[in-house]
């Protein structure tokens, strides 16, 4: 059965050369389907990517929707084949095609998945660091550190605001910080009114919210090590509020 698709793919390439983009895309899709049935996801990804390119070439200045959906399908196949580097690249092309067609929901999803696949490919390559002649010995370690920093940054971005595409995560992130710091405060002491004491969880929660939002009523004052944690929480609050606003406007002002 797989041998039957060889002439079909060849014909698709011939049609592509003759600028018969729509026919070529149809044949590439047919071949991809055969590969998918045979669980050859990497090959299917290539065929779908070629079909997407055909649609993009056909579109010219018209619609890029077909190209975008095809790139997305190709990326999913590459993901199934655990080729996250290629999947990230294809999702990026899908995102750009969606954006050109003003399909911002598709753009948002593909942009997010492109970053997520890139993070996974970084994670994989960190466990299998490779050298090139341009980066032998010491520079390979440098490359490893650079990759590790990129991975940390991407993971933080993923958790904080879903690479700018999931602003609701920022609220969750803020809530986790508030609750986390509240628990930390209960381990130390706070000055409430005239007396200093170890706070109950409800009092610590109140203090945590007031500190995170940088309201600073002053009715409860941190003491000892809690001062350090209060400063850390206030700085986190200062940083997270604009991130949330930026994420929200970035996502919803597109429509």
């Amino acid at each position: 059965m797989m041998d039957d698709i060889r002439p079909i793919e060849k014909e698709a390439h011939r049609l592509l050369e003759d600028n018969e983009y729509q026919k070529a895309a149809g044949l590439f899709y047919q071949v991809a389907d055969a590969y998918i049935q045979n669980r050859q996801h990497q090959q299917a990804a290539f065929c779908l990517a070629q079909a997407a390119s055909c649609w993009a070439l056909k579109a010219g200045e018209k619609t890029f929707y077909n190209a975008a959906t095809m790139y997305e399908k190709a990326a999913k196949q590459a993901q199934s084949a655990h080729d996250f580097e290629y999947a990230s690249l294809l999702y990026k092309h899908a995102a750009v095609s969606y954006e050109r067609d003003l399909e911002y929901l598709g753009f948002s999803e593909c942009f997010y998945l492109s970053k997520e696949c890139y993070r996974k490919s970084l994670k994989n390559s960190l466990f299998h660091p490779h050298k090139t002649k341009k980066e032998p010995g010491k520079r390979s370690l440098k490359n490893l550190i650079r990759k590790f920093i990129s991975l940390c940054f991407l993971t933080f971005s993923w958790a904080l605001w879903g690479y700018g595409e999931r602003p609701q995560r920022t609220i969750l992130f803020g809530c986790i910080l508030i609750v986390g710091f509240a628990f930390v405060y209960t381990g130390g002491s706070l000055m409430m009114g005239e007396a200093s004491s170890q706070p109950r969880l409800s009092e610590a929660m109140y203090f945590s919210v007031v500190t995170f939002t940088t309201l600073g009523y002053g009715d409860i004052v941190p003491l000892g090590l809690n001062k350090v944690f209060a400063v850390m929480e206030a700085l986190s609050g200062l940083f997270i509020a604009p991130v949330f606003i930026t994420g929200l406007s970035r996502k919803y002002l597109r429509f």
Partner: protein, 110 residues
């Protein structure tokens, strides 16, 4: 499809000939397998005499690309005809692979 291997300094040059398709890619995979087993880390694939490559051929190349990466090796490609280069371009693989116009520039880059 034929594969000719030659060693230039510490780089293994694999010159492919004919069609790299669904029928011939298992043979190419075997060749790459033996290259990995011989612990060759610098591989240059010469496409001068390749007339066509399909998705199975591309899958074999990307598999080699990833496997070499894992063992700390690298793969480069050279001498692609316009037709082959177009296939790499429409699949967007030209953004992942290192492709050179001629053998000399590819060898210099290793």
């Amino acid at each position: 499809m034929k594969v000719k291997e030659e060693k230039v300094n510490d780089v293994l040059v694999c010159s492919l000939e004919g069609e790299v398709n669904i029928s011939s890619s298992p043979e190419l995979r075997k060749t790459f397998e033996s290259i990995i087993q011989r612990n060759e880390k610098k591989v240059l694939v010469d496409f001068l005499n390749v007339i066509y490559i399909d998705s199975s051929g591309l899958a074999t190349l990307i598999e080699m690309f990833h496997r070499l990466k894992k063992i700390g090796g690298t793969i480069r490609f050279t001498n692609m005809s316009q037709k082959i280069a177009n296939i790499f371009e429409v699949t967007k693989l030209h953004k992942l692979f290192f492709i050179f116009e001629n053998r000399e520039s590819a060898l210099k880059d290793f």
